[in-house]
Symmetry: C2
Subunit: 346 residues, 2 copies
Amino acid sequence: MDDKLEGRRATVHDVARTAGVSLATVDRVLNARPGVRPETAEKVEAAIKALDFRRDLSASLLARARDLRVVFLIPGGSNAFMESLTAAIARRARATRNERLTLAAVQYHALDPSALVARLDGLGAREADCAVVVAPDDPAVARAIDAVTRRGVAVLTLVSDLPGSARRQFIGIDNQAAGRSAASLLGRFCASGKVGIIAGSLGLRDHRERFEGFSGVLGREFAQLKVVGPVEGFDDDAATEAAAMSMLEAHPDLSGIYSLGAGNAGLVAALGRTHRAGNIRVVAHELTDTTRDALRAGTLDVVLDQNPDGEIRAAIAAARQVALSPDAEIHSDPIEIGIFLRDNLR
Amino acid sequence: MDDKLEGRRATVHDVARTAGVSLATVDRVLNARPGVRPETAEKVEAAIKALDFRRDLSASLLARARDLRVVFLIPGGSNAFMESLTAAIARRARATRNERLTLAAVQYHALDPSALVARLDGLGAREADCAVVVAPDDPAVARAIDAVTRRGVAVLTLVSDLPGSARRQFIGIDNQAAGRSAASLLGRFCASGKVGIIAGSLGLRDHRERFEGFSGVLGREFAQLKVVGPVEGFDDDAATEAAAMSMLEAHPDLSGIYSLGAGNAGLVAALGRTHRAGNIRVVAHELTDTTRDALRAGTLDVVLDQNPDGEIRAAIAAARQVALSPDAEIHSDPIEIGIFLRDNLR
DNA sequence: GACAGCGTGAGGTACGTGCCTCATGACCTA
DNA sequence: TAGGTCATGAGGCACGTACCTCACGCTGTC
């Protein structure tokens, strides 16, 4: 019923004719090259709008005779989630080889913002069209993003946002909503008792947001549950195990735990050592080998997941848009929070 | 091997040179045109494999000078989920206009397989490159899919599969897993009592699969809960309300309900009329205006969703692959089941 | 030994955009 | 008035593939 026989799509030639200028001028405007008087540029813009012209992606990629280069900057170390992000990039890289898209993943030393700054400073328009960054909340990083943007590299933030910077868009989940969902589930799971919270670090923006969402819903809707913590495990297995152990020993009547950071192998170990695995309802974050196994074993009840593949896909789609029409607004689907039980593991 | 062209991707020219044939012959092989001896074709295939040649998607779309045409065949009527599928197609159609992709959505009379058969019979390679079908489990439909496939139109099934047919791929969620997840949640929500099941029709493959998954997990892991039903509401609001009313009146000790079909407005009404809204934990399917409002009001606790936008995106990606390389295997991300609470509504 | 038919080679044009060179006229300044 | 800069026009080649025409040589057949 929606079969509309629209005519041809507008091309640059149509734009030139409508605006009463030459093809070269249209090209200059489209690609932001110098040598066009503002009033002439306006005529071209008007024609573009009137014809609803959009540059043909296929032709554009073909004509520039080189791939779109997207660089991912991911913190290294032993964080299982970051590893799955990197794996998702590698998977995607194979699929995009015949779509004129080259992906590269570069790791920088986690916990060291200056390492990321150095990486960003080394980037220019000659090396990449777009940089996708998992960045800590640090002013020096924001400045480096602004600088590399000025050098002609579009920047997207991934997983954790940096609102003050020149980043073009944020790709990631709504962490407040994730925290609220965790509270909503634990609240229904636990009739009464105490609920413990284990974070990575409340200095991280995403962890802070999860905690806020969680406390809000629990206080509002499940006032019968008492909150214990948060304690911090610094996304490290050993530190998380230590934190969980002291929490478990101090509170024999704990009926639920929300682990909103990484380091879940430590939490699982602590639950095992105290023989509480299966007796406490646990909600954690990010599907990894550890959390998958723990779900299957019944040690974890629910895992909230960022869907690394989806995030990478969205980042690439946004990168294409940004690189090909530097000014246009980006439209992208929001990343959904995956909620996984033992029963819908993929 | 004199591959000094390390960085460059192989082109048709490289294939022709390596195979020792002309460009025209490579073209004939690539596009399955007649006029090539089998042994020559083999030489070309070998060269393609040796060079790992993949046709350039951008150039290919550009050269054929016409869009890829994808037709969606969706059951009409007042099914809110199908409407959201159609809406997702419309959203997507705007975004793909500059990607040489034309989408059309055609509705056929639900409940009437012959209407779908007629639509399929009217399709040929002149009208579309790929048809994406939400099809009932019917032998006549399977035959029509086989026929249109022979006429050169690739077919994908959406939402509900038709394994016996020539459909190239199924795009949809794992309905067994959806049922299992519902059971896993309701089992944790309800300490004891009875759990009611309301289906649309157990004659539908997807509904049947959800029911099987649900009963399996409930029986295995939550034996303290007694199952009531399933009753059928035929995806209709009024019929579902009637079915729910009699279930609610017959079982005052009902502590949970799994509604695995459509018609949820009727269920919500029944819960309201019996003043049980909020006192019974309810898991339903598909995010719609009705289920969203009910989540917010607390009448529903969890909604499992198929993610129409994701399904449409996956279908389009698969359609591109199928249309451009008819024999290749399709690689596509699985569609994930969305699990929605009041707290992570989008 | 002429002829049809088939497999193949050779070469061209087209798709829409990016990017380059060169020419031209307008305007400014010394 | 000469020289310079700037905005613009005109035109062309390139990207990799699709698809077309034409010609050639090799079969087998009557």
